[in-house]
């Protein structure tokens, strides 16, 4: 189906969730969540375990179909549920639909996973190279001609593949895992696997990067380094970042705005300072999180 774009869409908004609801059977995993993420922002999604944060990621990326609501990515509707609550922005009669995940992602989204999902038995280098595919458009027959010489339509493979390999090298160097390029991904130490996953995500040239608990299992120093890294790649690649995180230090330091979820329901939204001083959040989340921090 053709894309639905909004004329009155605010061009400064990268991602908008509009009254998004997801139910599994009778269970409401995400209930009526709305937020807008501005371009260039680092936006954090926090909430206790089971609050529905990863479900929101899966709704944005099209892994799950929306029950209700709408997801708009850079002015294009990428997901539409059955009914729209409080619909005041309907321009056309939009039927519920769901785009294929690869379609959504290739529009300029990339994500990492809470439980790292690499192409396990491939080398670090190939993990990133595989994700670089989008920039090459040579077809099956063009991939059979490997030489530099020949008419332009025939030498596509050579030049495009060269560009892909240069990009892969650049990304691996930025993430500091160039030395490990020939290692099998699953043999990397945990922290480097996280970095590799981010490198793979960046390889698709995203506008919006979704990070699902990137600091999980990292020690404080690694977390600190990761914070710098996230800021650095945001600036370097001109990204918007949506981040799910448990580490409160990381969230409060790195993010521009924070959205708090509790049991699938929105609880608060604001700058780190506002969130830290919000009594509801402190009661529902931060109080519990203090105990949690003790364990971590």
């Amino acid at each position: 189906m053709s894309d639905i774009t909004f004329k009155h869409h605010d061009p400064n908004v990268m991602l908008e969730l509009w009254h998004v609801t997801k139910r599994f059977g009778g269970l409401t995993a995400v209930g009526d969540v709305s937020f807008k993420i501005k371009k260039g922002e680092i936006y954090a999604l926090i909430g206790p375990n089971g609050a529905g944060k990863t479900t929101i990621f899966n709704l944005i990326t099209g892994v799950y179909a929306l029950t209700e609501g709408r997801v708009i990515f850079d002015g294009t509707v990428v997901g539409q549920g059955d009914a729209i609550i409080k619909d005041d922005m309907r321009e056309t009669d939009v039927k519920p639909f769901r785009k294929q995940p690869y379609d959504i992602m290739s529009r300029g989204m990339a994500r990492t996973f809470q439980n790292i999902r690499l192409f396990k038995s491939e080398t670090v280098y190939n993990n990133v190279l595989t994700a670089c595919h989008a920039e090459a458009d040579y077809n099956i027959f063009q991939s059979l001609w490997r030489l530099k010489v020949g008419p332009k339509w025939l030498t596509k493979y050579y030049y495009q593949e060269k560009a892909l390999r240069e990009k892969t090298e650049e990304l691996l160097k930025i993430m500091g895992i160039w030395e490990q390029r020939d290692m099998i991904a699953v043999n990397l130490p945990y922290g480097q696997q996280r970095k590799l996953e981010i490198a793979r995500a960046l390889a698709t040239d995203p506008k919006l990067l979704l990070l699902d608990e990137p600091a999980a299992g990292m020690n404080p120093e690694e977390t600190l380094a990761l914070m710098d890294l996230i800021r650095e790649i945001r600036d370097r690649f001109d990204l918007t970042v949506l981040i799910i995180e448990h580490h409160m230090d990381l969230v409060m330091n790195v993010s521009d705005r924070i959205f708090v979820l509790n049991f699938g329901k929105p609880l608060a939204e604001g700058t780190p300072a506002e969130i830290q001083s919000n009594p509801e959040v402190i009661e529902a989340y931060l109080g519990k999180e203090d105990d949690g921090d003790g364990d971590a």
Partner: protein
């Protein structure tokens, strides 16, 4: 077509369907929890048929003990296969492709082991119940009726275990999410042991019934292909679906065969393709969403 002939064929169909049900239930149980098609199931059925054959001929035991022996033999075999073949893969969290390939290896092994040690010639069971009875003017073989009763009882017991007992609850929980169930204190290894045991026992019964009705040879395990079709027809991964699908498939197959016996196998695979095109989730299947 006379009404008597029709009813006789119906009984034959239910009889065949019951046998498919015994097979496809074991397959569906494994599929619903371990998420792979256990293609070694056919080998287990075949070994069950041989156990029954030798119990009746070489050991001269009466029907009922022989029947139970089949169940025990096949149940043990299924559990042994799980321990030796699948368990090492499970420990490694191997992809399901590896399980399918190993299952294929196991089925090749079983089939050819029997060919190499016994031989490949088809054998006939000694006649056990070859008398016929008359019900309302319709002459029916005692063996057909017995098969229907036996299949029904075995399946009812299975459904009772799954629906009403603690073990059944654990199995159902694991079929939703094995990982989560394990975290909740359910012994995943034990559940898998039990489903293989139950599936194996039913496979043994099916093997003996098949042998009684048709013949015994090393390749009869391939009849399970039809029970896979039945499982898809009923809804992949759904236990009641597998039973309903099997019985319906059996009945349809018999009627197609009475029309033209050459077409019966073709009909079954044609039906499979039709189901996949029209309604892949089958009669009672559910749509599953991926977990990220």
């Amino acid at each position: 077509m006379g009404i008597e002939y029709f009813l006789q064929q119906l009984v034959n169909g239910i009889c065949l369907g019951g046998m498919y049900a015994l097979m496809s239930v074991g397959y569906s149980l494994v599929y619903s929890i371990m998420n792979f098609s256990n293609f070694a199931h056919g080998g287990v059925i075949m070994v069950g048929a041989y156990v029954g054959y030798f119990a009746l001929t070489a050991l001269n035991v009466p029907f009922l003990p022989a029947f139970l022996l089949c169940g025990v033999g096949s149940g043990l075999l299924a559990v042994i296969i799980e321990r030796l073949v699948y368990s090492p893969l499970r420990k490694r969290h191997a992809p399901s492709l590896y399980f399918i390939i190993s299952a294929m290896g196991a089925s090749i092994f079983l089939e050819n082991f029997v060919i190499a040690t016994i031989d490949g010639t088809p054998r006939n069971y000694p006649p056990i119940f070859d008398n016929r009875i008359n019900i309302g003017g319709i002459s029916l073989g005692v063996d057909s009726l017995l098969m229907i009763v036996v299949s029904a009882v075995a399946l009812l017991i299975l459904m009772f275990i799954i629906q009403k007992t603690k073990v059944g609850l654990a199995i159902r929980a694991c079929s939703y999410s094995e990982k989560a169930s394990t975290l909740m204190g359910i012994n995943g290894d034990l559940v898998i042991f039990i489903i293989f045991l139950m599936g194996g026992v039913l496979a043994g019964f099916a093997g003996m019934l098949y042998g009684m009705r048709f013949i015994v040879k090393p390749t009869i395990g391939q009849v399970t292909n039809k029970s896979f079709v039945a499982a898809v027809f009923g809804g992949l991964g759904s236990l009641p679906g597998a039973i309903v699908g099997s019985v319906l498939l059996g009945i349809m197959e018999i009627f197609v065969a009475s029309f033209n016996s050459n077409l019966r196998d073709l009909f079954v695979y044609g039906l499979l393709i039709l189901v996949l095109v029209i309604k892949p989730s089958g009669l009672m299947g559910k749509v599953v969403e991926d977990k990220a």
